[in-house]
Amino acid sequence: MKIDEILKNLKDEFGDKVLKVYKKSDARAYVDIDPKDIVDFTRYIFKDLGLRFNIASGVDEFNGIEILYHFSSDASGLVVSIRVLLKDKNDPHIDTITSVTRAAWWIEREIHELFGVEFDGNPDLRPLLLPDDWPKGVYPLRKDFIVPKRDSRKA
């Protein structure tokens, strides 16, 4: 299955829900969609097309929190990344995809604590990496977070 074929499949299946397609090379493509369609897209790509879920990655942009869901097809050696933009930085929300694949269990916990994104429907959003006494509402991978300077003399 070539990358054009996968992109065509997505367009046939979802039509206007595919907002933008950027084919970077024969092995990489980025597809922009609306956040509310993420579960449908994941189900189609993961279950029907049989792609593997690599990981999701968040980016703190000027106009919102962007999340990329990376899927790879091992049969044809390519990676398709689904991009969503959560515009409300104060209260970013998106539906969980753990109902489709349990592989997203830990990464949703991680994005939740590092970017402050709520994954609606995910029952397990306990902290994963940060300590238990980490202050609420402080998200280290947001750009406004400044790494506190450590005074080596106090150690």
């Binding site: 593997r52 990981i55 990376h70 049969a75 050696g77 990676v79 694949t101 940060l130 977070f145």
Partner: protein, 395 residues
């Protein structure tokens, strides 16, 4: 209803090399639930990388793990090369493959030793770690370091393999292969290991796919994936080798996959040394344009994933790192529940969770003059034992 008990393991425990906290819920001997808490070793490398230049971040990611210290840099440089569309010189690709396979060899040997240790078979532990030494020696010859090789740069590699080193590498590889044959026989034909590891901690193919498990963990469950073949990088599409898979999904199958993979690695290194063309080893790229790139490589534990976003400046806007254990670890819920407590450690160890091994001890410098070899160390150890015996006898 039977009585439930909680067994906490960790975060600091003599059996574990790195801090992590397991909570086993048991009914008698049987594990009925398990939970894990990680993050005790969180260093914030993704955030640190945002404040470093592209050249510096390679050295940062090299220090994520002492074992995978060439896997993360390769994934990182591939992501940056993907942004800029850089063509890497042929010779550099071969050198990358050689370093990667050497790393796989020493990592699998290390795991085999630890697995032996976890089930109380310490002879395997001693063998595994002893016969791993030739590989570390080759690594030192090729890169200058036994760990943290500092071999990679965007556009190529930093050091060439000298002609006079090739015969040395081949001799040490033969030596290694000889020991590997012995170890393979000792482990795969041992009836005790068969009864201890077969049918234990089974990960089904469906679960492996659903959890998107990677590397030997997935391949032992019959999922035929390998980044080296599926997403060709370095020189893997220029040499002949096989992807090893097993159907059973138990701890024994994972052991078989790792042992047989070592033979493939040796074969890949030999072919690469043979076919490696002469030429430059560095494309010397200049600026990194704005854009995003993804680097995928097959680390010893599975696919290692790096996503780098650049805005045209000297440092990444975002650098997402996903190590293979991150995907393999959550499968413990399927594999451990229902097994006995005594099997829990080896099942948790079977995915080869990543720990550091950066200490070295090869030569003892005594009084600035005398150098000690292995025989001297054994003699030293025997003398020490004798002294302890005498002291105990006197008491």
């Amino acid at each position: 209803m039977s009585h439930r008990a909680h067994i906490p393991i960790g975060p600091y425990h003599p059996l574990q090399e790195e801090p992590e906290f397991y909570k086993l819920v048991v009914e008698g001997e049987k594990v009925v639930d398990v939970d894990v808490r990680i993050g005790y070793n969180h260093r914030g490398i993704e955030k640190i990388s945002e404040s470093k230049s592209f050249d510096q971040s390679i050295f940062i990611v090299e220090r994520i793990c002492g074992i995978c210290s060439s896997s993360h840099p390769i994934a990182c440089v591939q992501a940056v090369e993907d942004i800029a569309g850089i063509e890497v010189p042929e010779r550099a690709l071969y050198i990358r493959s050689i370093v990667q396979e050497l790393e796989r060899l020493h990592s699998h040997m290390l795991w085999l030793g630890l697995a032996g240790h976890f089930i109380g078979y310490n002879t395997v532990f001693m063998w595994g770690w002893k016969y791993r030494e030739p590989i570390c020696d080759i690594m030192e010859t090729v890169t200058g370091n036994r760990q943290n090789y500092a071999m990679l740069k965007v556009g190529g590699v930093r050091r060439d393999i000298e002609k006079e080193h090739v015969s040395y590498i081949l001799t040490r590889l033969d030596e290694f292969l000889h020991h590997l044959d012995m170890l393979k026989g000792a482990v795969l034909d041992d009836p005790v290991l068969h009864s201890r590891l077969k049918g234990v901690g089974i990960l089904t193919k469906e679960d492996a796919i659903d959890y998107s498990a990677l590397g030997p963990t997935a391949r032992a469950s019959g999922v035929d994936i390998d980044v080296r073949r599926d997403h060709p990088y370095a020189a893997y599409d220029r040499v002949k080798w096989n992807v090893i898979t097993q159907k059973e999904g138990d701890v024994f199958a994972k052991t078989v996959v790792r042992i047989l993979e070592m033979y493939e690695s040796v074969s890949i290194i030999r072919q690469c040394l043979d076919k490696m063309p002469n030429g430059p080893i560095d494309a010397k790229p200049k600026d990194i344009p704005p854009g995003e790139g993804i680097g995928l490589i097959e680390a010893p534990r599975g696919e290692c994933f790096h996503y780098v976003k650049s805005d045209g400046t000297n440092s990444p806007v975002r650098h997402k790192i996903r190590a293979p254990t991150y995907m393999n670890f959550p499968t413990f819920r399927e594999t451990v529940v229902g097994e006995t407590v005594s099997d829990a450690t080896i099942i948790l160890a079977a995915i080869d969770p990543c720990y550091c091994c950066t200490e070295r001890m090869l030569i003892v410098d005594n009084d600035d003059k005398e150098l000690m070899n292995v025989q001297d160390l054994i003699r030293l150890s025997q003398e020490k034992t004798q002294k302890i015996k005498e002291r105990m006898g006197r008491r």
